[in-house]
Symmetry: D2
Subunit: 412 residues, 4 copies
């Protein structure tokens, strides 16, 4: 069906839309927003929403900023109303008083976003709108409350219960696959042939989360290699011309790349759920898999060395320093410096092994002199690991890695 | 796949769940809820959510009431925190102060519902939970604020942009069709053969809205007959043994039954969107269709006559009284008494024609002595009609119906 | 899409068809068939085929008989041409001479059937045509060669490689399910509720073979119960109100009913493939299943007793007689009398156990005084069993059944 | 599901297959074929078929040739049996005698192919087998009868009624799209970006025929451009950077490339059905389309000029010569020289217009000095055109083209 979708706007719809569009002429977008928020907008709501989103798409940066200022300041809460309804609710809790309070607390821009969301494609356009907003926040901090509202809405709309896990492979639609090429953030995919090497062989898998209202847009995806034993080099893993093994013969699933796709969904976390779901699905389908590990970059290693300037024992090799960094280099709040470490440790994984010469790409050399790390997802331990990390800020690591860290002679 | 779904809980998942389930033993459901709300619940979140929903399902009425009281009172806002964060935000608006305010205003029970929603099937179970709550509200008005929160969340989750319109016909899954039989609220379907007469003939259509997270559950559906000319009898429309016409030969689409399916979604309105979408789709697929009308009951007619006891002109016939009722019988706020009239007029339809002997079923005789009404959806007029109705409380009607109403000699 | 299928005949198609249809008027169906067979029919082939099939549908029995006589006699081989081309091919084998021979050997009615098959729905209509033919053969044996050709074509078209195995359950389309009700030939399904008991519980399965050109028509289906242990009563198996078990807890899959659906496909065998495929699929999805048996009727038992009038030992009970019948009662060619036995033994199954009181329905009492039999599909043995049965006419049975048979004191 | 397909061979299947495979060891492939043809092969048929196809895949060219010789000569008809059964059928026509005759006429290699076809993927492997065969026929004409049988079977299996028309667009699976790149035979597609320009813009369409047993393999596909007016240059049509128009605004559909995909299906014609079906579908979906034309190469033009060496009038331009060639250059049997002309004229199209400078690619210059031709599919005329062409060998052309041809002063 999708390719005749241009036809879906029937003659009727077009004439109906035209009537409202004509009427809208001469009104500002802000006026249309107010109309959409009024009860008078009920019947013509979806057409109004369509018009507003179309106008937004055509705006330049300064117009968009003005639109965001309208949303932030003109559709803001009324502090006095919050005050009054809070008192009334405290005095006499009831449906009526609580609803009045709830409405007073919620700025109208949230309702506006919900009404814009009623048209096909609206969800994606609102996500794109937030992307625009995020790019302005540094210079326009006054718009931050608007972003808080977007994040609040998106957290609700992109609830795990609404997401769908879909395998991505060489039988997937090309318009999905081209997005995998575009969004791969860890190890760049440089051509369709390169993509094919990631998703077609019998020992490769890729999975993404999708939202039903954005069917063609992956939200996040993970690339998986099925291997015998734990790998210690991403170039070997991705080598052109390597021989694939049978999936049934693999004992290890390696998560070697996780990429978020939607800048407009920054702060809405999917990675933890994705990994756990993929582990569960792979376990069911390939009972031979016993070990689930990542092969992860250490993006902060060299930057930390440059700034912290640690004194290392003379004989300390690169992997020992990396082990030390992962286990001991902390922010003032006691949480690891390394962002990738924070992500996996927060998910309940543990530091499993550290490998030299594991990523010889320019980027890998620059950020960590080629060292990479395996984080292990041991399903019987992740709850305990997670609690230790969140509760006591303990970084759980294998004995081997702990020994390696100790060997480098660095003070904590 | 669906029928092996029992297998989807893989060996791993089951052992993981068992570990958490064992640990949960000895804790009350309320404690589990608090744990789910804590950051410690992140990793084991979906298992905790599953456990809580399972426990809820096994509760008796008084336990459910206690659970709702916990949600209402223990997961309530803190007025002092609202106060303080409101002041702080007013003093220095920023991401941080606004987020603090937004969090203070939102009771934790909303976040609890979002977290319960992360498991497969969670959405449907939360809708069922609200159904339980609604049945208690009359006797337990103190629980009303909880219902306000449910309604707020559901309005966001069941946004028009997330709903999918699906045709329902004799090729639809039996588990969907049995729900059509169960939920038909206007003209009961008494058997599968009766159902088949509603959805299989070439001149019959049925459409429903579905939510992606509740794939097997229609939210609302409408039954449509394609006819030549406007019908004046529902029994004729549904007669067993009648001859179907070709869809291409029809000039009129008759919406003769609209049924909401989910008691737990009371107050979330879908009917307006459904009718407009179906009109648009039918217009596109069957260009011969020129007229879109309902054939609707007048549920409040006889009740109004009994209570208002209007003095009618001696010669006034039943249809004249019905016309008068539809046009003139108003609530104190100026809106029509009749609930079906309120729905269609609010959608922008107009009162088109009134028919005697149109519903001879016991129910039709009881509520309106067999009189029914056509509401007309004239797409070029619905915006104007809607504005007149909402803005000025004007009931738009055909000249014929206005004349009929005038003829009965009743004072307004 | 399917329900707007009436629209698929576009304006163009209709006008194109009309032109050909007008031209066809005044020609007999037989003339249209000859035209379809000529090269001039190439462009208008599908329209001609449509017309011929439409005309056939409207024929009464005697017209159909005349049509079959036309196909049998007028589209017959030319013996002289066979002779000549055979000689020419023998003298000088080449593409040209072999093709000439092949064409001479094949009556034109086969090509006619292939050309009729080119329109949507044609396959199903040809299957229905053969059903008509089969019902005439007893009285019109001269039409038998035509049936040989139908069978030849259908064997090719309904090749196992073209069939699709689909699960049938309570989520299947109602138009498929109503055919299960209609076609169930072993234990009648008397209502939709009865059907639901066969396909919805967690311990029930149903699978059918479908052909891509007849998507809504099952060709054959099998009903399966998942049980603990081997069942000995079909009424217990199908009891209303029984408690379902979890599929994962079952150790046995019981094939308690296999029904062919298409009379027009008589002689095209699907049952063997169906059972083996279902065994393979269930083994994969439910590793707990260890035993695959039938619970089968013994349709010929009482008829055989009445005609063969065997002298039984005084103490012989009903099950012993049944065991004896299954193992020893043979046709003159040495193959068992019992048709169900022939089917399963031919598939490589063995006689596993015999149960009294296993089918207390009127039909079960009439045909076998309530006795039923389990045939066992032991996958490590079926090739060997099959070869013994086909090669040496040996009926493989369990020691228990052999002892039972011996106990009845009947002479072979 | 498809990507776990490696799992579909369950543990059971693998052990079952292993048993048969072990037993097969020590037997030649020819022996396995005879076993598959015997009744003893019934139960283990699909495993035997799998084994034979696997062995075939591993054969080198000379082994394949030996296998084809086995099929051709060892599984040949028995002329004496044909003779005898023909006589017996003539003497006493019956089911039995006709069946005997039909079996005697059909060499066992046909039944072998049908039995090989019963395994998943078998159809595609048999098509590939014929491709191998075709490549040997020039040197091994004795194998030609085998090819006649393949063609006979494939004509039946790939009957129009079993084919499915599917749109191919940028949402199609990548494994389908890469085949479009590989198989495009008219205007080469040199990259994924080039492919995207053919299938993604709003004014482009592509459709292919597929067979249900070869889901990932297009059999034939056509590329369509939607335009305003008839195009006269394929480079303009395919220009990178051109602006797409709305599909609804187009009045013309241009078939600018038709490619067969399966060498193993040579001689099985799909093009005629494909074009007619696409015309019907486009007419229905885009009522604005009034003209359906090709923009076709004239592959034989320059070759004909070189060999026929026609004397042209001094002033004859290239288009006039092309028009003359299309209308007048015939083979001894009176049919046009040009193969593309034969295809479209045979379908009922007419020669509509001739354009100079229409294909400036090296290939276009070489074969026709850049001249191309539009064939017009006028649906009200195609039956008549077809009959004129097939019956009287008349090439129907527009007055304009006829005048152009006359202008060149060449004798016929």
């Amino acid at each position: 069906m999708s390719f005749f979708s241009g036809l879906l706007a029937s003659v009727f719809e077009r004439s109906h839309r035209k009537a409202i569009s004509d009427k809208a002429e001469g009104h500002t977008t802000n006026e249309l927003c107010r109309q959409l928020l009024s009860s008078h907008g009920e019947v013509s709501g979806s057409t109004l929403a369509r018009l507003i989103l179309d106008r937004y798409s055509a705006m330049d940066v300064s117009e968009k900023q003005a639109f965001f200022e309208f949303m932030t300041h003109s559709l803001e809460i009324d502090p006095q109303a919050v005050q009054n309804t809070l008192t009334a609710y405290g005095d006499a809790p009831s449906k009526k008083t609580y609803r009045a309070f709830a409405q007073a607390c919620e700025p109208q821009r949230q309702e506006l976003a919900r009404r814009l969301n009623q048209v096909p494609g609206g969800t994606g356009q609102l996500v794109a709108m937030r992307k625009d907003l995020l790019s302005m926040l540094r210079d326009q901090p006054a718009l931050e409350p608007l972003d808080v509202d977007f994040q609040h809405l998106f957290t609700s709309w992109f609830n795990r219960g609404f997401l769908v896990l879909r395998p991505i492979n060489w039988s997937s639609p090309a318009n999905i696959l081209e997005k995998i090429i575009a969004y791969e953030a860890v190890h760049a995919i440089d051509s369709w042939d390169d993509l094919r090497r990631r998703v077609q062989p019998a020992d490769r898998r890729c999975f993404g989360f999708f939202h039903p209202a954005m069917q063609d847009e992956p939200l996040i995806f993970v690339e998986v290699a099925l291997t015998k034993g734990t790998p210690n080099s991403v170039q070997a893993l991705l080598a052109d011309g390597r021989n694939a093994i049978n999936a049934e013969d693999a004992d290890t699933a390696v998560f070697y790349s996780i990429s978020n796709c939607q800048a407009g969904l920054a702060g809405i976390s999917f990675g933890n759920s994705l990994i756990k779901q993929v582990v569960a699905d792979l376990s069911r389908d390939l009972p031979g898999l016993k070990t689930f590990v990542t092969l992860s970059p250490i993006p902060g290693l060299n930057k930390w060395r440059a700034t912290a300037n640690p004194k290392t024992a003379a004989e300390a090799d690169q992997t020992a320093i990396a082990a030390h960094y992962l286990l001991e280099a902390k922010r003032p709040d006691g949480i690891p410096f390394d962002p990738v470490a924070r992500f996996h440790l927060g998910n309940g994984a543990m530091v499993h092994a550290v490998h030299a010469g594991a990523d010889l790409s320019p980027n890998g050399m620059r950020q960590s002199s080629g060292v990479m790390v395996n984080y292990l997802y041991d399903l019987s331990q992740i709850s305990k690991n997670h609690e230790l990390f969140v509760g006591e800020k303990t970084v759980v690591a294998s004995a081997e890695v702990r020994a390696l860290s100790a060997s480098c002679g660095l003070e904590v």
